[in-house]
């Protein structure tokens, strides 16, 4: 085999590995990202329909209840940013640090009845820590709430 051909063959192999990898990365990135939305954005209809996303906020105090059916464990609660709120349904065991009044992130999709069907629920991991997305959503929700009060809009 001539040196020129050999170089070409090496190049071809290298580029095909890179090409396959790049294709995989773009496919995977396109299909597997999940965006974060606050309850206010969900109520405003900004969240995608039929696609997985993350919903974050505080668990509204007093909203938690169980809907266990037979041996199935089902929880329902409301996630709020103190401006708007979204009802969440989750089948399974909630994380240790899940509590009313605490920050939470739920991953899943909107159901046809306007209830968010969560596949996964994440709670904050220690006493002083709140997922930053949740903190931002709260601040944002609060700003809107205050603005509404100021213009007499109410909620």
């Amino acid at each position: 085999m001539k040196a020129r051909h050999k170089r070409f063959a090496f190049l071809l192999v290298g580029l095909s590995v890179l090409g396959v990898a790049a294709w995989l990365v773009f496919q995977a990135l396109g299909n597997n990202l999940s965006y974060f939305f606050s309850p206010t954005e969900v109520v405003e209809g900004k969240a995608p329909e039929g696609h997985v996303f993350r919903l974050g906020g505080l668990v509204q105090p007093g909203s938690f209840r169980r809907e266990d059916k037979g041996q199935a464990v089902v929880a329902r609660f409301v996630v709020t940013d103190n401006h708007q709120s979204v009802e969440v349904r989750y089948s399974g065991i909630l994380p240790d640090l899940f509590q009313e009044g605490q920050g939470v992130i739920a991953q899943g999709r909107m159901g046809p009845d306007g209830v968010f069907m969560a596949d996964e629920v994440l709670a904050k991991h220690d006493e002083n820590y709140m997922p930053p997305e949740v903190a931002a959503a709260l601040e944002e929700g609060h700003r809107k709430g205050v603005a509404n009060m100021a213009t007499g809009g109410g909620q």
Binding site: K6, A21, Q27, L29, Y35, V73, I93, D126
Partner: protein, 650 residues
């Protein structure tokens, strides 16, 4: 008083590190023998100072000295003794001190075991390590001083994060850091060789055992972390593609590539410039990992207290270290280009492909890890890249890698032919197809193509490794294999075990969250789980509930599991799973939460086939690394060079 001594020793260590970083390198450049001679004593003294400093912090923890802020935040008088000890590295400041201590220990080890290195090379290697240590110690002292006082002292500390009160986590960070920091050694060798302008086979032979040892520690560290997550985080997952996990996995992949390319450089003198680049890349990923974990730019379930000013410091450090290394590389690499020829079909090509795939995999993981940050930086929203992305990229890329293991380790150096390789692999090829397809049919509940593919690959790696062993043993018997040949064999057999574990666990695990009243039972994976109820539990620094679950299979008793739900004094709840471990399956039970006052609980039940094989595989791979590093040719080399040196002097 003791904390002040520790603080003072830390400052001294910084000064010594600066001396160690500046004088030997300048001395080697200018030819001042006395400056060159500073390298060894400085490195050893720095290690001693950090040892004193670390001992002082440990003392403060064992004595529960809550006038030290870091102790008050991470310990408690009721904490069991062993966890007081491990609490030293339980949070940011202490774990950085451990990082610095380990770096100085590695450096001191180089000065002891590298006696046959030429004084100039030694001066440069130790000097580079001194510069790295200077940056780290400055970071430690100026942004994260573990000896900061809390006045007035508090009567009781806050307690160590309960997640960290566990034997797996006592060992996990030191192992991981030994690996991370260990990659500083091949990095320093590469930089030193470029500074000296000489990149020869001796350089590769020097770097190799150090790289292998660092890699062994990192392998064990990652496996321990995964095992810990499995039983302590309570929810039965063993890998989450969390940014913190990726931060340790990326250097591992790059380090694996480095080990293989060092083999080519040592044996054949090829790939020199590439190997140097890989050494820089691997250590850069270790530093990047530290940056990602410590700066808080990425959110992660591992909530370390993050602080942007610390992040800025590490980023600057990263930029200086990696930037200057890459500049040096740009200036010198063309001079070290190797001119060794090899054919398209040869072991060199197989190893080159191995390197390309490993590096591409690393880069894809890096991309996935940094993507949320990039999108945020571009102002395009907050996103998260979840496990599906990583699985979709990682799995297809590892398939050709597994195939290459068999082909590459049987191909000849320099030149081979497909016909020749086929003769060697055909038995292994057919056997792996037959066993791989039969295995899920015979041994598992149902057939799945993914399982068959995974098992074909596992058997392929297994049989081809046996074939390699047979080739090596030809004419000498199995006892004739050198340690490094054993190392390679074990390393690859570990991969086979690992693939088996991942494949079968991912495909055949079953999981269920159920509501159980005492007396209820539930069946999963052929086992009956009978819930007997819970009793109150009182521990040293927690209280909680302990469940009792009796497991039977076709009426025969299997085991009784006692999962716990604990509430620690610090207010944090914890789930302790009950696990019945076995070679072919794990049974895993965790208590969720009490559902009513009749004693009903939400319980999570898992049946996980072959999950142990994942960690077993990692253990076998690590054993391979140990064998390779212990090969006698490295010791022979050291002795020969020492004798040559002595002869030269006389």
């Amino acid at each position: 008083m003791i904390p002040e001594i520790g603080h003072f020793a830390l400052i001294l260590a910084l000064v010594i590190a600066l001396v160690q970083g500046v004088f030997p390198i300048l001395g080697a450049h200018r030819g001042y023998a006395s400056w060159v001679a500073l390298a060894k004593p400085a490195a050893q003294l720095q290690f001693l100072m950090l040892l004193v400093s670390f001992a002082c912090l440990t003392w403060a923890f064992l004595q529960s000295d809550f006038s030290v802020l870091y102790v008050a935040e991470n310990s408690n008088t009721r904490l069991p003794q062993i966890f007081k000890f491990s609490a030293v590295w339980g949070a940011h400041e202490g774990s950085l001190l451990l990082w610095a201590l380990i770096l100085s220990a590695w450096t001191a080890a180089v000065t002891v075991f590298g006696r046959s290195l030429s004084p100039l090379m030694m001066a440069r290697v130790v000097g580079v390590l001194g510069l790295v240590a200077t940056g780290f110690l400055a970071f430690l002292i100026f942004t994260s001083n573990p000896f900061e006082r809390l006045l007035p002292a508090v009567a009781e500390g806050r307690d160590l994060n309960p997640l960290l009160q566990d034997i797996g986590l006592v060992m996990h960070p030191p192992m991981l850091y030994m690996g991370y920091v260990g990659f500083a050694i091949p990095f320093a060798f590469a930089i030193a060789a470029m500074l000296g302008g000489r990149l020869d086979a001796a350089w590769a032979r020097w770097s190799r055992p150090w790289t292998q040892i660092a890699w062994v520690f990192l392998t064990l560290g990652i496996a321990l972390g995964s095992w810990w997550a499995y039983y302590e985080l309570g929810w039965g997952g063993w890998w989450f593609w969390d940014p913190v996990e990726n931060a340790s996995f990326m250097p591992w992949l790059a380090g694996t590539a480095l080990m293989h390319s060092l083999a080519v450089t040592e044996k054949r003198g090829a790939f020199k410039a590439w190997t140097v680049l890989l050494a820089i890349f691997t250590f850069s990923l270790s530093l990047l990992g530290t940056f990602l974990v410590r700066s808080g730019v990425l959110t992660s379930v591992h909530a370390f207290a993050a602080d942007p000013s610390r992040g800025l410091f590490i980023l600057l450090f990263l930029a200086v270290v990696v930037g200057s290394s890459l500049m040096l590389y740009a200036a010198r690499a063309s001079k070290v280009r190797s001119h060794v020829r090899f054919e398209l079909v040869s072991r060199e090509t197989a190893l080159l492909l191995n390197n390309v795939i490993l590096v591409v995999t690393t880069v894809s993981i890096l991309l996935g890890t940094l993507y949320p940050l990039i999108i945020d930086a571009l102002g395009a929203g907050k996103i998260s890249v979840g496990p599906p992305y990583f699985n979709a990229v990682f799995i297809p890329l590892t398939v050709p890698l597994a195939i290459l293991i068999g082909v590459g380790s049987l191909a000849r150096w320099k030149r081979d032919s497909f016909a020749n390789i086929w003769v060697k692999v055909r038995v292994a090829f057919v056997a792996s197809l037959v066993f791989g397809i039969l295995f899920p049919l015979v041994a598992m509940q149902h057939f799945s193509w993914q399982a068959a593919l995974g098992m074909v690959l596992a058997f392929w790696v297994f049989f081809s490794s046996l074939k390699v062993m047979k080739e090596y043993a030809r004419g000498r018997g199995i006892g004739g294999l050198s340690l490094s040949q054993w190392g390679m064999t074990f390393g690859h057999l570990g991969v086979a075990v690992f693939i088996t574990g991942i494949t079968l666990t991912s495909i055949y695990s079953s999981e269920k969250d159920v509501r159980l009243v005492p007396g209820d039972s539930f069946s999963l994976g052929g086992y009956e789980f009978l819930f007997k109820g819970t009793t109150h539990l009182q521990g040293p620094n927690y209280q909680g509930d302990r469940g009792e679950i009796v497991i039977t299979r076709e009426g025969e008793p299997v085991t009784v599991l006692y999962p716990e739900k604990r509430n620690y004094l610090s207010g944090m709840p914890m789930t302790e799973a009950g696990i019945d471990a076995g070679l072919t399956r794990d049974l895993f039970v965790a208590l969720g939460e009490p559902l009513d006052d009749q004693g009903a609980w939400a319980v999570r039940i898992y049946h996980k086939p072959f999950v142990r094989w994942i960690w077993l595989g990692a253990l076998i791979m690590a054993l391979g690394g140990v064998c390779s590093a212990a090969d006698k040719r490295y010791r022979l080399l050291a002795r020969r060079e020492r004798e040559a040196l002595a002869g030269g002097v006389a």
